[in-house]
């Protein structure tokens, strides 16, 4: 065994934080979030998963797309792409999969989104395998293992005496080479994970679910009676990506009027999501909007871009003030097909 002791890992993170933006699980007024840290002392080591996913390191909740400078009739546009490298430590396999889901839309489908692409390019993911499933986790339904290394650059797994370090990508390899250059003792190792907890999937074959017959199901209206259209399910989701774009005025600068064009997270649960100027709204009821959320995740998105737009992280179950449970929805749609469901 050649595990990396926690102190050595902490030292590595300190070195990383010195040169790049290091994002790690951090306690922010009692809420666990992925946030920039300046030293390993701020890192929370033992956790199930932070309240929000790593999504906002790539599509921030509010992001500037352009600066607009107006002088008389003249307009100057300044493109604002993110600069600087970031490393995210403590990425759970579900969140890493979320990035692959978003890659399918922002990178693999033309035109490439340059804002997302830049951040993705400049970010290295250090994964941290889960010891066990949280109460609302159902990642195995999505085919993700607790120590799934596929979607990160370097995978860490807690083992006797510290962490086993797995190199997954060239980016991960470069990160480790850099660490060795700093004199850190890092040797790649395939961990033994025979002690991993396992979980029966909620649905045995998610891809076989037949969604269209459920489109006109009264189930959606029934479910929506509880929905507040608060949209928190989309904001905590590692795979939701809908956004709004608008211009906001900024303080003027030497007689130039300045504005920023921003995009911010949005959700199809909101009543105005599809409403157009003039008032027409093709999706006026909560049932229709909730239905769209689940059809998008499991039927539309896979058809449009490939992956299922859910990673089984269970955050939406935790966050919903009305206990709307995505696994119950899957079980409902799965029942006709006779798929097994264990919740």
């Amino acid at each position: 065994m050649n595990a990396m002791p926690r102190e050595e890992l902490a030292h590595w993170l300190d070195r990383l934080a010195g040169g790049k933006t290091l994002i790690a699980p951090r306690d922010v007024d009692g809420v666990l979030l992925y946030r920039p840290v300046t030293s390993s002392a701020e890192v929370v080591w033992d956790f199930t998963r932070p309240v929000m996913s790593i999504k906002d390191a790539f599509i921030p909740a509010t992001e500037r797309l352009l600066m607009i400078e107006k002088t008389g009739q003249q307009i100057r546009l300044i493109e604002t792409l993110a600069e600087g490298e970031q490393v995210i430590f403590g990425v759970r396999p579900c969140d890493a999969r979320g990035m692959k889901v978003l890659d399918a839309l922002f990178l693999d489908t033309e035109p490439v989104d340059p804002y997302y692409a830049r951040r993705r390019e400049n970010t290295t993911l250090i994964g941290l395998a889960c010891r066990e499933l949280g109460p609302t986790c159902f990642c195995t339904t999505l085919g993700i293992a607790l120590d799934d290394p596929r979607d990160v650059d370097v995978m860490l797994t807690e083992v006797e005496g510290g962490y086993a370090v797995q190199i997954v990508t060239a980016k991960g390899d470069a990160l480790l080479k850099e660490a060795r250059g700093w004199g850190l003792d890092v040797e790649p190792q395939i961990p033994d994970r025979s002690d991993l907890s396992t979980q029966q999937p909620v649905i045995s074959d998610l891809r076989s679910l037949d969604w269209p017959p459920y489109f006109n199901d009264e189930y959606w209206d029934r479910l929506a009676e509880r929905c507040l259209s608060c949209r928190i399910c989309a904001y905590v989701c590692p795979a939701c990506r809908c956004f709004d774009v608008r211009d906001e005025a900024m303080p003027s600068n030497n007689g130039h009027n300045q504005y920023e064009r921003i995009r911010c997270w949005d959700s199809c649960a909101g009543v105005n999501y599809r409403r157009i100027a003039g008032g027409h709204n093709p999706r006026p009821t909560k049932g229709q909007r909730l239905r769209n959320r689940f059809f998008c995740k499991f039927y539309y998105y896979p058809q449009q871009y490939g992956p299922v737009a859910c990673t089984g992280c269970g955050r939406c179950i935790d966050a919903c003030p009305e206990n709307i449970d995505i696994t119950e929805v899957l079980a409902h749609v799965g029942q006709a097909g006779g798929s097994s469901h264990n919740r």
Partner: protein, 281 residues
């Protein structure tokens, strides 16, 4: 993953307004001269495509392009003042700079329409994306069969492109029918909904294609009238509108079931629309 050479699809081209003129009550025509690289991007846009227009400092919104590149190097947009962006645009005048992003979406299959009798149905501001269709047919008149234009608005003051009707009427083998719901004292054309006008004109479905653009409820009821006239949904083309924030298939806004109006549309046949899980209404 290096994309440095690509044009940022969210970065607008700049365009100078060379003319802003009243088309109808609260509807203005904006003529835009493209400035920084936009001319190249918009060299070959097609009837039915749309673009995002920015009123800088307010925001941007999608508008059907009302011009054709073979008639003018300018881009033309007919804008009905309804929300924040359209109000922002209405406050601009000649010399002001707007932003324009990409020609977006698919287009009317004008090649496939060749040799067909065409019936165009435009309702209110919905006439804007049909103007390029009309101009293309008039400019290549021999390529198409009989041409019927059904043009409607709630009131005479809301009819768009009124100063072009004489040109349309003067074209060979072309009929123009106008109707309004609420006539004024000087109105001497049809009165009633466009569906009633359609029933009255009753075009033959033989080798014919209809192209409909207007409010969703109009598209729906035109489809209902076309069926008994013998037009199958495959022969009825429509252009749909939706709230959008990117126009390039990213923001998720404009989905109709598993289709996105911005990239899979805005032009659909009613057969395609009917096959979708979700209603556009």
């Amino acid at each position: 993953m290096v994309h440095a050479n690509r044009h940022n699809p969210m970065l607008p081209y700049l365009g100078r307004l060379v003319e802003v003129k009243d088309l109808a009550t609260e509807i203005k025509l904006f003529r835009v001269e493209l400035l920084n690289g936009g001319r190249e991007a918009f060299a070959n846009y097609r009837p039915g495509q749309f673009a995002f227009v920015s009123a800088f400092g307010v925001g941007e919104a999608p508008f059907g392009i009302a011009s054709t590149p073979h008639r003018t190097p300018m881009l033309e947009f007919a804008v009905n003042r309804l929300g924040a962006v359209t109000t922002g645009l209405h406050e601009l005048g000649a010399g002001d700079v707007v932003g324009v992003r990409r020609p977006m979406g698919n287009a009317f299959p004008m090649e496939a329409f060749k040799g067909k009798n065409l019936i165009v149905l435009g309702g209110g501001i919905g006439g804007a994306p049909l103007r390029p269709v009309i101009q293309t047919v008039l400019d290549h008149r021999a390529d198409y069969g009989h041409f019927t234009i059904l043009w409607a608005a709630r009131r005479p003051s809301l009819l768009v492109f009124t100063d072009e009707y004489d040109e349309w009427r003067a074209a060979p083998d072309t009929d123009v029918h106008l109707t309004v719901d609420e006539p004024d004292a000087t109105w001497d054309h049809n009165v009633g909904l466009i569906t009633e006008l359609l029933e009255k004109v009753a075009p033959s479905p033989e080798s014919a294609i209809t192209i409909t653009c207007g409010p969703p409820v109009m598209i729906h009821f035109v489809g209902k009238v076309l069926q008994p006239l013998g037009f199958t949904p495959e022969k009825n083309y429509v252009t749909l509108e939706a709230r959008m924030h990117c126009g390039i298939g990213k923001c998720g806004r404009c989905n109709l079931g598993d289709k996105l109006i911005c990239v899979d549309g805005p032009v659909f046949s009613m057969a395609q629309v009917g096959a979708l899980l979700e209603s556009f209404l």
